[in-house]
Symmetry: C2
Subunit: 504 residues, 2 copies
């Protein structure tokens, strides 16, 4: 074994340990949200904190540096074969190590403490709809995130250093171009829908159902689209999420307590989209960064593709109504009214309630504001005014209080600046993949109407899932669709589908 082989073996062993520690952390977090007794919160927090420290200590250890440094140098010199998994693994591992090493332990601890404290302050401020009560914490967080960007380093904008962990390679400027174009199209399109004389009644498909019945329906639909329950579970939680513990164990959650069985179901379709992606990742690369998703946006593309492009399509509705009837749940109006109701567009103040068309405008608004905050062109005190003006501009709505405005989302209190764009990028990637899949599989939508989703899933497995992070998100999208990130397929999809629904 050469010295380089030995260092590579040692790097793989360290990465595997880190993956296993993170698997344990994921399991404890899942359990906390789904099973943990009420009295266990404090001790559980300590266990999760201990695991996070162990993983961080491994990543920043001298041992890790000894293994990665010479490998990263060889890679830099072009002496690692590009088609070998080692090229991607060393690249990702070096990036993670380098970022972690640049952030002093004291800085990280201080930021984490500030974020933990700010969560509570934000929750109280939101309850009281009191922006000023949250402002001092938010100002400190922004100062520290700007410091983080300086420590990590950037060329054009500090925002570049913050978006990178979510969307590697993406920049403030590139994001602004794509989301700017998207916002321009969507704000006009929403206005056209508002002027349409077609009224869509979303309420006609609201149906209550006992939790056991909802669960059976959700399992049936998740299985039908391709989620594998031999390698996964579905449980109840206060907020729907998906988590991979480790290969063979991908867990979805949803809630059944809403008024409406389709709420829980579409959450499950969304989370199953994430889950099928995780089930399709290359298990043989588990324990290395190459076995994971290359970006949050790419991950989100898989959930949104199944939730919206498949799940809210007309052929899917044909199948779903038949499937529901088989479970004794009847939607008697027929498929067209069902499909229209499922796709009602209603400008609203709250992001998490938004439909497919207006959702991205919520993201564009947040991106613009957080970018200006980080780049120093907007003061914290001026956020509500900027927010409310933008809501008026995009939706023609007045924000009655900050709880329904700038205080609604948890992200900033947790320091997650740079995260919001991934939601919109996910929607754009989803439309790009969907259009490419349709070109490759001309009868794909006819298959949906028959409850046959395997061709699409197999196309995604081959073109997206199985590639893990052996390529970048950009490379994967280019290879699969012939183009890098673009708003055009999404705007075309919206034009076609909502043009038909609202007769524009």
């Amino acid at each position: 074994m050469t010295d380089i082989d030995a260092r590579y073996a040692s790097l793989l062993a360290l990465l595997k340990d880190i993956a296993n520690i993170n698997a344990a952390k994921n399991a404890l977090e899942w359990d906390m949200e789904t099973k943990m007794p009420s009295g266990a919160g404090e001790a559980r927090g300590a266990v999760i904190g201990c695991l996070a420290s162990l993983a961080h200590a491994k990543l920043t250890s001298d041992e890790f540096e000894d293994a990665i440094a010479p490998l990263a140098e060889l890679r830099e010199l072009g002496r690692l074969a590009k088609d070998d998994p080692g090229h991607a693994i060393v690249g990702h591992a070096w990036k993670e190590f380098d970022r972690a090493r640049k952030l002093p332990t004291k800085f990280v601890a201080e930021l984490e403490e500030l974020q933990a404290a700010s969560h509570h302050v934000w929750a109280e401020a939101r309850k009281a709809s009191d922006w000023k009560a949250f402002s001092p914490n938010l100002s400190r967080i922004i100062a520290m995130k700007r410091e983080e960007a300086s420590l990590v380093g950037f060329t054009a904008s500090p925002y570049d250093a913050l978006i990178d962990p979510f969307e590697p390679g993406m920049t403030s400027a590139k994001t602004a171009v794509v989301l700017g174009e998207l916002a321009k199209f969507l704000s006009q399109f929403v206005r056209r829908i508002g002027e349409s004389d077609v009224a869509v009644d979303a309420a006609r498909i609201r149906k209550p159902l006992a939790p056991a019945g909802q669960e059976a329906l959700c399992r049936g639909v998740a299985t039908a689209i391709g989620f594998d329950f031999a390698s996964g579970r579905l449980d109840e939680a206060a907020h729907p999420f998906m988590t991979r513990l480790h290969p063979g164990d991908i867990r979805l959650t949803t809630r059944y307590d809403g008024g409406h069985l389709l709420d829980g179901l579409y959450s499950v379709i969304h989370e199953a989209g994430h889950g099928m992606y995780e089930q399709g990742l290359p298990d043989e690369l588990y324990g290395t960064p190459a076995g994971e998703a290359p970006s949050f946006g790419l991950h989100e593309s898989q959930s949104r593709l199944w939730e919206n492009m498949v799940g809210r399509s007309l052929p899917f509705c044909r199948w779903l109504i038949r499937h529901c009837a088989g479970e004794g749940i009847r939607f008697d109006d027929g498929v067209m009214p069902f499909w229209r109701a499922l796709n009602a567009v209603t400008p609203s103040l709250i992001r998490v309630d938004a439909d497919e068309v207006t959702y991205n405008l919520h993201i564009c608004l947040r991106f613009e504001i957080e970018r200006e905050l980080i780049e120093g062109r907007l003061e914290v005190a001026d956020v509500p005014a900027a927010w409310n003006a933008q809501v008026r501009e995009y939706f023609g709505l007045e924000v009655p209080d900050d709880a329904h405005g700038a205080l609604q989302d948890v992200h900033w209190s947790g320091g997650a600046f740079g995260y919001f764009p991934s939601y919109a990028i996910g929607n754009l990637y989803a439309a790009q993949f969907y259009a490419a899949a349709e070109r490759a599989l001309p009868s794909m939508e006819q298959d949906f109407a028959r409850g046959e989703f395997r061709p699409l899933l197999e196309w995604l497995r081959k073109n997206v899932h199985r590639r893990g992070s052996l390529a970048t998100a950009d490379e994967i999208v280019r290879d699969a669709t012939g183009s890098g990130l673009s708003a055009a397929p999404f705007t075309a999809y919206v034009e076609r589908k909502y043009g038909e629904i609202y007769r524009l």
Copy 2:
């Protein structure tokens, strides 16, 4: 802060990390038995193995040695106050460290590998009832356990070094005296029952019930005796067990698929006994060895006390029949036939099916054989003959094949020599505690008939649970009952209860 204070603080931090890693491991093991999808076994094994290695690495690290060594020396010199928790913490931690350090990593890995491989060999041998197929593995395990004893060190018998992790301070010779006395009494007592003309019909209380109904009953009874569901859960698993993840999170499991609702219920009462003990341990000492049970036998005493001494008592049966009636489950024969049926004594070949009277004889038999194996007075090839002769002697039964004899238990294949005595010691401690509690609480059994179990639980909290491992098991039993380990309270209890049932 003095140097000694700093080392003590560092020791506590290391112990807390080890406890948190073990908490994660417990959570993943619980999940594996209750929730994990079928396809996740291999990856899960790797995660659990990684956590075990991390905990072991912390315990045997130079950092741990630097912290513990000078503290252990001070303790040895009598310079740590005996009534300070530090005295117990340093004592236990040193013992664990010292044992771990004496076992070379290579030896531990080899033994673990042998045990893992032997589990499969044993399972196959049991299926085929083929002792010879298991013999080579068992011989190697015994050789390694003898080597373990030599590495750890002992004065009188290598068995002393093996029983110590389960029952600290207990020896081969002391165990032989107590269990010898117990076996002598019980084998005669079983013969007297066999000669009694009273026939007890155990089958009359066998009642099937749908799992949901069984679960509700189990929850109700566990709550009634004092298990706190705000700090605990109850789930289904293939084999009933209890595990503490960490303070505030104590989990019971049982199974509802047997033919008989009382099977699942009495498993829950047993596990709830363990669970209430864990819920009563001093949480402020969590993360140190002083916050845990001082011996397996003491832990088992708490489960057996609730399962048998409380749960199979006549006053408890009075309450249980009323409680069941409230749930729509009727036992119409009246309390005396119910109580007799619940306490039927039937000599049998299989330990896990044994009743309260014959159970300890199964343990005595195993203890005698494993002690002779470890002390070199019995060959592996001769185990079945020795086993079968002892079964004939104790129960008057013929063993038809080794699957119903020496191959029935998993313990030896996993290297758990020295574990079996804890089961019997638990039964003896249970009778000692029960008798002492009755002296302190004369109306205790009348309380049971009214469904009032708090006085007993409070007595146990004060005299057993709250002491954690601040004292040894022996000290706890002496303080609570006035005597060290003794068979007399158990034999008196058996004489009185079964004398009445079988009119001896």
